[in-house]
């Protein structure tokens, strides 16, 4: 799968510390909301690609 245009997202509710809660990323061209949960295999792949230097994640708005 091809991951592009990654950007952090902060949940607007139930997020008292205003933390990043998801990565918005195009997966094979489809806008996808990937939770920051390492059990989620899309997030695990994002972490792998970030570590490999092939993907960067922009800051949240």
């Amino acid at each position: 799968m091809i991951f592009t245009n990654a950007k952090y997202h902060k949940a607007p509710l139930d997020n008292p510390d205003n933390k990043n809660t998801a990565v918005v990323v195009e997966i094979n061209g489809v806008e996808s909301w990937v939770p920051m949960d390492e059990a989620n295999t899309d997030y695990a792949e994002i972490l792998r690609q970030v570590a490999a230097g092939t993907l960067t994640i922009a800051d949240a708005d």
């Binding site: 799968m1 607007p12 509710l13 909301w33 295999t41």
Partner: protein, 346 residues
């Protein structure tokens, strides 16, 4: 006289068979570790063309072709099935661009991934580890020796592998294969909801994957061993196709008849990994924003990745739970969100 006694008499030689034996060996339900082994559920699509990379579920639920630079493939839910077995669908791989000269790292395999929670019944890593058996029906135009293997992906340790060589002696003929899987008393399956076992049906491999030794007992992973003995390159011609159905992994040394499930049960099992909430959800006002809730009909394995087929209002998804989440837009936008999809594949 009890059925157990009748059965014992039929077997003769004074064999003592208890009711418990019969319950364990004959009438055991929910015996199949494999989900959607009859290929009946295909939530995403029934056919996808142009696949060169594999690695994700694209048609039949829970079924992952795995590929690396070995031709181009169409995968589909096929109605070609073994006769008289009660199946209506199979999974088909059809080569549409050939690769007759595989590089060392190239491969095509059919895969099925299993979470650890579903493997604990085998008691691996203990003195009571159980033997088991994998059975399936397969058909291809290309006769030869094929390999199927199971990998135990162990967190913090080396993955282990156990494989089996089978021969397709007659082209274009359905045949049932039985792979006895020895117990592993040394290494447990992780007890979590993550990818723990992967079954690979190897169909074409480069020299990195078949120049070792076929491991018929559980052995630490060596890539060259994975498909040792495979003498077929299913990618070598666009005439090639491969079908599989009726996959069953069960305890014991004897492959019992495939356990057909009602469709709703299989669909519910598949929704643990992927679900489409078909239809439109209309957000409501929430202060100066708009907000809509969604709830999966089946709790997911992990918090899922969320997409929507239509989201013209630009709502953001906040799927922070395994059971659902909400979408939100500030300032407000009242456009509906249609066909929300959640994926928590292994």
């Amino acid at each position: 006289m009890s059925n157990a006694r009748n059965l014992a008499n039929l077997l003769g030689t004074g064999t003592q068979i208890t009711t418990a034996d019969i319950a364990d060996e004959v009438f055991l339900s929910n015996k199949n570790i494999i989900k959607n082994g009859a290929m009946v559920v295909a939530q995403r699509a029934t056919s996808v063309t142009g696949d060169t990379a594999g690695g994700s579920v694209k048609t039949v639920d829970r079924m992952n072709p795995e590929m690396n630079a070995a031709g181009t493939w169409t995968q589909s839910q096929s109605t070609d099935v073994p006769s008289g077995q009660g199946f209506v669908y199979s999974f088909k791989l059809d080569c549409t661009t050939a690769d007759a000269s595989l590089a060392a790292n190239d491969y095509v395999a059919f895969g099925h991934r299993i979470e650890g929670l579903d493997l604990q019944r085998l008691n691996y890593g203990t003195s009571g580890a159980k033997s088991s058996i994998l059975s399936f029906w397969v058909k291809t135009n290309k006769a030869g020796n094929y390999v199927v293997g199971v990998q135990n992906v162990i967190t913090g340790s080396t993955t282990k592998n156990c494989s089996f060589l089978y021969t397709v002696s007659q082209a274009n003929t359905w045949q049932k294969i039985e792979f006895p899987i020895p117990a592993d008393t040394a290494a447990a399956f992780d007890n979590d909801a993550n990818q723990t076992a992967i079954i690979y049906w190897w169909l074409a491999v480069g020299s990195n994957y078949n120049t070792g030794t076929l491991r018929t007992t559980w052995t630490n992973n060596v890539s060259a061993d994975f498909a040792a003995g495979l003498n077929v390159n299913l990618a070598d011609s666009t005439d090639n196709e491969w079908y599989i159905t009726g996959i069953q992994w069960e305890e014991g040394d004897v492959a019992t008849p495939f356990e057909h499930e009602d469709y709703a049960t299989t669909l519910r099992k598949c929704k643990r990994y992927y679900e489409l909430l078909e239809g439109s959800v209309y957000p409501t006002d929430y202060s100066s924003a708009t907000l809509g809730n969604y709830f999966w009909t089946e709790e997911k394995r992990a918090v899922p990745t969320v997409t929507a087929d239509t989201n013209s209002g630009g709502h953001g998804f906040n799927g922070v739970y395994k059971s659902g989440g909400y979408f939100y837009k500030s300032p407000a936008n009242h456009n509906s969100v249609a066909n929300i999809r959640g994926s928590s594949e292994l």
